[in-house]
């Protein structure tokens, strides 16, 4: 660790309000200076504090990658799963134990490339989970390869002559797949992010928050966006907020702007478990159907059965 890093660590106040939410015995974290993942985590913790969700009922699931390490740093019940599969893990967890608030916190490569199929089906299925996607336009942990979110023409280690492909509009993808709640902000927008994460946590159904984040080390530097601060300035200058805008128009253009942010979709749609319990009650009758509540395997030990 350089002396600058050491100084930076020492400059963190000892009684930071974040400390009680972090596994301090795992610090320092792996994220680079200027990275936005820490900001996303800070906003998330603030949102959780405001949400009133009992801490022990909040569970974080991550996949693999830089953002995939979030689960390991948050002092909650937390699961660091396989690459791309955090969402189906979270669905199994939530359906087995509906009283939990299950949050998937992972990156764009994890959730949208290798995990893209699970993402669209989870939005369609509308299980009551929250997905927070830190989109830094690249694969950070493996050294800056092209992602399905990388801007066309951008340089990555695997597209040394520029990316030939067009990126996904994640908000549009989530929206058109049926998500109940869809929002996008950048790590510049810390207060709106806290509010939108709080709304997403409260939403009954599949809620999706995209957090555009700088990756100065592997994306910014190669693509002449500068360091973390420069990218934050870019986020500030090029962003426009358009709540309720149709997601196909809510585009992200880092080069020329605009970067459209806001809460694009908040629709009432019955969540999976509610649909399940209603449909089964109708199909089987109240006497035969055993509702799928917070069933744990400990319950059969009760003399009353379930």
């Amino acid at each position: 660790m350089s002396s600058r890093d050491t100084q930076a660590l020492q400059s963190v106040p000892v009684n930071s309000p974040m400390e009680e939410w972090l596994r301090m015995d795992r610090m320092p974290h792996i994220w680079c200076p200027g990275c936005g993942i820490g900001t996303a985590v800070n906003c998330f913790v603030r949102a959780v504090e405001k949400s009133g969700i009992p801490r022990e009922k909040l569970v974080v699931v991550s996949g693999i990658g830089c953002t995939g390490r979030v689960a390991g740093y948050l002092k909650l019940d937390s699961f660091h799963t396989t690459h791309g599969r955090a969402i189906p893990f979270a669905i199994g967890l939530k359906l087995a134990n509906p009283e939990l608030h299950v949050v998937v916190f992972s990156g764009d490569g994890d959730l949208i490339a290798i995990g893209g199929n699970h993402f669209i089906h989870a939005a369609r299925r509308n299980v009551n989970i929250t997905v927070i996607c830190v989109n830094n336009f690249t694969y950070g942990m493996t050294g800056g390869q092209v992602a399905p979110t990388s801007p066309k023409g951008s340089v990555a280690t695997t597209t040394p002559y520029g990316n030939l492909e067009s990126p996904f509009n994640l908000a549009h993808l989530a929206d058109s797949s049926g998500a109940s709640y869809v929002a996008r902000y950048t790590t510049y927008h810390v207060r709106p992010l806290v509010n939108t994460m709080k709304e997403a946590l409260a939403k009954n159904g599949f809620s999706f928050v995209e957090v555009l984040s700088p990756c100065p080390t592997l994306f910014g530097r190669r693509n002449r966006f500068g360091d973390g601060l420069d990218i934050m300035r870019l986020f500030k200058e090029k962003s426009i907020r358009r709540d309720g805008l149709s997601t196909d128009a809510a585009t992200v253009d880092l080069q020329n702007g605009p970067i459209v942010v806001g809460r694009f979709k908040d629709r009432p749609r019955e969540a999976f478990l509610d649909v399940y319990n209603d449909a089964m009650t109708k199909a089987l009758g109240k006497d035969r159907f055993r509702p799928y509540g917070p069933v744990t395997m400990r319950e059969p030990q009760d003399s009353n059965g379930w």
Partner: protein, 386 residues
């Protein structure tokens, strides 16, 4: 504890191995399953989809086998007993998550109704060609626990046992049916619930302050689970981890974790090998699953011709009961050992390794798509050209 009375279909039934497997899961306390349709295993999840809502369980058809196989791991951490079911191509897709279940020590049951392969192969016809995949399919070293029923009755019984082993050892357990057993209709007797032993999940008695997720009690190699949502704030990762559950990338951590994982299953306690007239036999036939049923016919015919033929049937196929196989196959009276299996030579390698050249070992293989002609096994027993 005992099984749940209202959930168990006590009685005598005429059902196939797939349905019996589903009923075994319900009797064992399974209340969550995620799966994806694939022949010849689909009937298992179809049965669960219709039965679960009546017993407080849920089946979800996921978008693929990758999703199904990790959804059950999530559900197991959520506190329920969970199972997934597939065949050939689907089982291949699930391999990464078998590794995750091993690494995170998640009690889960994985049913493979084997069909002919490789690739899409023979969707509707039997094979036993995934036996080595069961052992080595996911990357890295890991212990495998796999059971192999040869009838619908055993599909019921061994699925219950698989759930019990999964809880006892905190490990994924594989149930290796094949298309023939899966689709075979036979009598299945489902006992009274109070006669079915069910292993309950073992949760820690420690407080959150004292609890370390992968710390084992004295004399045990299996750590206790913490219940999710109760303030333990535990971390679970597929990365190499220390007893706090934290990722630690050192050879020392890897060494401690790997040796514990590799040694935690008590081989003697899980071994189940059925023996018939083994003592003093001249020819010893080793088989498992559907092939054991065919071999029985060949053995009966050979015995009627005056030959002393023994039969060893592997019910627990992994961990391979090496010591027992070596003892039985190297008796002085034995002229040769025959391994009959519905593949071109998988478990025979294990038998050869155990016998270590002490006796000749001959494979009676089959490329799959049908069961053996018993006369082919008989010819091998009689050492005729076949």
């Amino acid at each position: 504890m005992r099984s749940i009375k209202e959930a168990v279909m006590t009685g005598t039934h005429f059902i196939d191995g797939d349905v019996a497997c589903a009923e075994g899961a319900i009797a064992a306390g399974c209340r969550f399953s995620a799966g994806y349709p694939i022949t010849p295993s689909t009937e298992v999840v179809e049965r669960l989809a219709s039965r679960f809502p009546l017993v407080g369980g849920m089946f979800v058809q996921m978008e693929d086998e990758l999703a199904s196989s990790i959804a059950i791991i999530g559900a197991a951490w959520g506190g329920v007993k969970a199972m997934t079911v597939s065949s050939g191509p689907g089982i291949s897709l699930m391999q990464e998550h078998i590794g995750l279940a091993v690494m995170t020590e998640t009690p889960t049951v994985w049913v493979n109704v084997q069909r002919g392969g490789p690739s899409t192969g023979l969707p509707t016809l039997p094979a036993q060609a995934d036996m080595m995949q069961a052992k080595w399919g996911s990357h890295g070293d890991y212990p495998t626990l796999a059971l192999c029923p040869n009838s619908p009755q055993e599909a019921f019984d061994l699925t219950i046992r698989a759930f019990n082993f999964a809880e006892l050892y905190r490990t994924p357990v594989l149930v290796m049916l094949d298309e023939a057993v899966g689709h075979m209709l036979e009598k299945v007797v489902i006992p009274d619930a109070e006669d079915i032993d069910v292993e309950v999940r073992r949760f820690t008695g420690k407080s959150p302050d004292e609890y370390r997720p992968y710390e084992c009690a004295e004399g045990s190699l299996v750590p206790d689970l913490a219940p999710v949502g109760q303030g333990y704030y535990f971390h679970v990762t597929g990365l190499t981890h220390d007893d706090r559950g934290y990722p630690v990338m050192t050879p020392e951590t890897q060494e401690g974790l790997m040796y514990r994982l590799m040694n935690k299953i008590d081989v003697d306690a899980v071994t189940d090998v059925r023996e018939s007239e083994v003592e003093g036999c001249e020819v010893l036939v080793v088989s498992y699953g559907i092939t054991s049923r065919v071999a029985e016919r060949a053995i009966r015919d050979a015995r009627s011709q005056g030959l002393r033929v023994g039969h060893l049937r592997l019910v627990t196929v992994w961990p391979f009961p090496e010591k027992l196989i070596r003892e039985r196959c190297t008796q002085a009276s034995i002229l040769r050992v025959i391994v009959a299996e519905l593949n071109l030579g998988q478990m025979v390698r294990e038998v050869e390794r155990a016998v270590a050249g002490a006796k000749p070992v001959r494979l009676v293989g089959h490329p799959g798509g049908a069961v053996h002609d018993p006369n082919v096994i008989l010819a091998a027993i009689l050492q005729e050209a076949s």
